[in-house]
């Protein structure tokens, strides 16, 4: 029975059309899915083939160099890591606090929809605009220089709206019944927040953080605007020292480069040999972002399953 063709003639013409339309729609959707997956696969494979010569340990522990075969991404990945770390240090507490305030504490006033539109809009502002703002504000006004700190602050401006919006979304998924139950037992607002809202929405919040992290890693334009270097052969000061108090925060004042800038630098060189470096660095960057995104999906999946 299972392998028999479905007999559509029992349906009314209208139902039959609907059925046929549904089939066409599903095949179209599948085709689109395959195409978009194909693009990412081709991209990854192509980058891998082009860059495989450079993909070894030396590539990770070498500074950039005049000689393509010796050039590596050490300063770039360390820079990326430091910048993203600072960026998350600023944007996570600020973004989550802002979302909690807007969702749970702020009174709904006539201008509330306006705030909402503004935050949504900020998420869509071209990143170069944030770069220009940071150049004026952080570099010239606050005199922070073209440092890792400036870069972290700039990127945190950029991802802040994403974190705010995804956190609010996550908070909204907590069922109203649970909140009311907790309130009816005499819990205060903060207790409801601590015992129910945050634990219930934490994977959703985390998903937003990871997505914004993968956006921050790939960002180039605002960092070039604030004066990131393109060729750098030293590392920031070490964060751990041998003397008391063993921690050193001078590294936030150092100049830096990040992976996408290094990548851009290599692609714009005339020597074809450097393009292999670029392909290898791209491969690493794309894989990293693919990894982060899949991690976010796994988390969201686990969150959904837990809530059923």
């Amino acid at each position: 029975m299972k392998n028999q063709r479905m007999d559509l003639s029992v349906l009314s013409p209208k139902q039959r059309n609907q059925k046929i339309f549904a089939r066409i729609f599903v095949s179209l959707a599948t085709a689109v899915l395959i195409i978009s997956l194909g693009v990412i696969c081709v991209l990854l494979i192509r980058l891998f083939i082009d860059g495989v010569e450079r993909l070894n340990l030396d590539f990770f522990i070498n500074f950039p160099s005049r000689f393509p075969e010796k050039a590596g991404i050490l300063s770039a990945w360390v820079g990326s890591f430091a910048v993203v770390l600072l960026c998350l240090m600023f944007s996570i507490p600020l973004g989550i606090a802002c979302a909690i305030y807007l969702e749970e504490f702020a009174k709904k006033r006539f201008y509330s929809p306006f705030i909402e539109v503004c935050i949504g809009n900020l998420a869509g502002v071209p990143s170069i605009t944030f770069g220009l703002l940071a150049l004026g504000l952080f570099v010239y006004q606050f005199n922070l220089g073209s440092s890792i700190l400036t870069a972290g602050l700039t990127l945190s401006l950029l991802v802040l709206p994403v974190i705010i919006m995804s956190t609010r979304e996550a908070l909204r998924t907590v069922p109203l019944g649970l909140k009311e139950a907790a309130y009816s037992l005499g819990a205060t607002k903060l207790q409801v927040l601590r015992h129910h809202l945050i634990p219930q929405s934490q994977s959703g919040i985390f998903t937003g953080v990871i997505l914004s992290l993968s956006r921050a890693i790939g960002e180039t334009a605002p960092l070039i605007t604030i004066g990131a270097l393109t060729f750098i052969a030293f590392l920031p000061e070490a964060p751990v020292t041998g003397d008391f108090p063993f921690l050193n925060f001078n590294w936030v004042w150092d100049s830096f480069t990040v992976l996408p800038i290094q990548l851009y630098n290599w692609t714009s060189r005339p020597q074809a040999e450097f393009h292999k470096n670029a392909a290898a660095a791209s491969f690493i960057l794309v894989s990293l972002s693919l990894f982060l995104n899949s991690f976010a999906i796994v988390l969201r999946h686990r969150h959904n399953r837990k809530n059923i």
Partner: protein, 257 residues
């Protein structure tokens, strides 16, 4: 007619959602014992009235509540206009909702939640009280060997009894129940109805129900609401045997609602 004092006196209570008036200057006395049922067709404001007692309307900005609800305690506190914090008001009044809504925590933690939020009990005291409440809710025999299991692993009827135990744990003066059996099968409903009658010997219960049969079976007093007004309020026997109002009569006979 009983002569017990009212534990709650609702005076001139009006509730508005945005600009829509849902309750229209309601006056009602909830007696200190037994089950008071609020019945009426859907949309008549029974749940709104119940939620006003617990001040759940405070959570939403577009709701306005006027009037007063006097609690018959030493201070004659007006629950709506008191200088005592709203958390205190809610700690005096327990609430059970329409859909069982246990927290996604263990069975034990669910019952203990109100205690932990309101009181400073030792672990042993909490344990004793949780056990007491689970026994009161008739759930102890079914769950005593798996108190650490997630509350979601219980059946719907068990979850609702868990919610009752949770509401009883901080020893409220009044227990509000908002159609507690509407999401349950007949057997679970029967168990909960028995439980409500048992509880009402110690704690006064206000029960919202759309089922006349349920009101008739388990309540001692009935208030019949229609379109935001209280039409009739008396002992259950009186209302069902010889309703004063034409509207009540036709509702009980099933001509509408």
């Amino acid at each position: 007619m009983t002569t017990t004092k009212p534990i709650l006196s609702i005076k001139n209570l009006s509730v508005y959602y945005s600009n829509k008036k849902v309750l229209n200057k309601i006056n009602l006395e909830i007696l200190d014992s037994g089950v008071t049922a609020l019945m009426g067709p859907s949309g008549c404001g029974k749940s709104t009235l119940l939620r006003a007692i617990n001040r759940l309307h405070d959570l939403y900005g577009n709701t306005r509540v006027e009037g007063s609800i006097l609690l018959n305690d030493a201070d004659k506190t007006d629950l709506l206009n008191t200088n005592k914090p709203v958390e205190w008001v809610r700690s005096q009044i327990g609430m059970v909702f329409q859909k069982p809504n246990p927290f996604p925590k263990s069975i034990f933690d669910n019952v203990a939640y109100g205690l932990r939020v309101q009181k400073d009990l030792t672990t042993a005291q909490t344990k004793d009280r949780v056990k007491e409440c689970l026994i009161d809710a008739g759930l102890w025999d079914e769950v005593y060997d798996r108190l650490d299991a997630p509350a979601q692993s219980l059946s719907g009827g068990q979850q609702q009894r868990l919610c009752i135990a949770r509401a009883l744990a901080p020893s409220p003066l009044i227990l509000l129940m908002d159609e507690p059996t509407s999401a349950l099968d007949p057997l679970a409903t029967q168990i909960i109805e028995k439980l409500i009658q048992k509880i009402s010997k110690k704690t006064s219960v206000v029960l919202v129900t759309h089922s006349m049969q349920q009101a008739k079976r388990i309540s001692d007093h009935v208030a019949f609401l229609y379109l935001g007004d209280i039409v009739e309020c008396d002992s259950t026997k009186k209302v069902f045997d010889s309703p004063e109002h034409e509207l009540t009569k036709s509702y009980i006979e099933g001509s509408f609602g």
